[in-house]
Symmetry: C2
Subunit: 255 residues, 2 copies
């Protein structure tokens, strides 16, 4: 997500806050996720942000409306609606499989967002908590992740009633790291979409609408914040960002 | 652990606090683990406990001495030293493999405790973060956990230099749920030990020494506390306790 935002909006200054002390959110209760999201937003607002991107599917599914209400008029963009846009644009058979965390699935956040755009869609949802642990461990290739992916996908790729899903939504920001094994488990002819690009588009559109877009001549800064030790943030984050992160560049904050 | 304590000390009243809002500890920094352990102990002390059992290997490895100092004269028992006792009693070849979390391994907590008891022991340590996610998910049998176990154990069961370990320490309270697949990956002739029984023995001994043991005529109560929603605590906890937990019996506390 950070990578897509930097690439789409190079002139904007970005602050990335990873709540590494309390990850993973995907198996936590709604009340805890709401509290954590509000604490993180409080901190970011104190740093003068002009827009908030909730770049976590679980937090988007649970906390978007409360955050919009509490921090109005701050523009708040989530990743679920842009992800649903991407799914609806990709599907030909109107059968979509959403892979997400336990919390996102139990809220049916994607199913509701996709159904609002494509009322006759068939939407399967699958909680894939182990994908988070695999992505954090860096186990993204080989027998173990392939076997986990097969286990999660099998019921949906060979359903008893009708054709398999033709579009798979990666409904957690960790899952793009596992795209290769998910693609293998899904088989050919399946489109895999994530919300990073469509969210970056939504952010650019909203900045433009609100007159907040920075002139393209300038170069934006990047600030990295974490709530736990910067060492693990740097090693895990580098896999997501696709470039090395120096732990010395990560500022630890207490929410 | 709770099961071993109840079975060994049926007359004692037990309060179990699961910091479900912030699990897993095993990938968190030392500073965060220390803070969480102190907050949990503050709460338990306010409920009048007479002894603290740090029933988490990661928290034991990191926070035992600071907790003993801060909460003196409260007796504080960890699980690493009893686990090392069990390993030393079991090994014949003096080659021990410790499976634990990233934090426990990076502190070499078991290696130091075993070496203190058996100076010429060869001790391999392996971080197994995915075992935590598998145990929490209930994926304890079948292809996926077997494949994860083989991946973690392979380098230690066929070492280039000498015979394999004859004793494996389950250095995380989650790992006994995966004992079957660990045993399969280890092959025959390996002894698997965990610290539950030896910790319960250490607790009984210390209660006796300090004159705190309750008379065996009475029946102890069990209080279950969690820091996040009781639903997941009940479903995950039931797998550990080996009996159903009613979510209505779990009290949510804010640390």
């Amino acid at each position: 997500m950070l990578r897509a935002l930097r690439s789409r909006l190079p002139a904007e200054s970005l602050i990335y806050l990873g709540d590494t002390a309390r990850v993973p959110y995907g198996t936590k209760s709604e009340a805890s996720i709401l509290r954590y999201a509000a604490q993180a937003t409080d901190h970011l607002v104190s740093r003068g942000i002009k827009m908030l991107v909730v770049a976590c599917n679980t937090a988007s599914a649970v906390s978007l409306d409360p955050l919009r209400e509490r921090f109005a008029p701050l523009p708040v963009i989530g990743v679920v609606e842009p992800g649903a846009d991407a799914a609806v644009a990709a599907t030909r058979t109107n059968h979509v499989l959403v892979l997400a965390t336990e919390s996102t699935v139990s809220r049916h956040a994607y199913a509701r967002a996709i159904a609002a755009r494509l009322p006759d869609a068939r939407i399967d949802e699958q909680a894939c908590s182990l994908f988070v642990a695999l992505a954090e461990e860096g186990w993204t290739h080989g027998e173990v992740p392939a076997s986990v992916a097969r286990t999660y996908l099998a019921p949906h790729m060979k359903p008893a009633d009708g054709p398999p899903a033709d579009t798979i939504v990666l409904g957690c920001t960790h899952f793009p790291l596992l795209e290769n094994v998910i693609r293998l488990a899904a088989g050919p002819g399946t489109t895999i979409v994530d919300s990073a690009t469509t969210t970056a588009d939504a952010v650019a559109r909203r900045l433009h609408e609100d007159g907040l877009l920075r002139s393209s001549g300038s170069t934006g800064s990047l600030t990295l914040l974490a709530t736990d030790g910067p060492g693990r943030f740097a090693s895990v984050g580098a896999r997501f960002l696709g470039q090395p992160i120096d732990a010395g560049d990560v500022e630890v904050v207490d929410l």
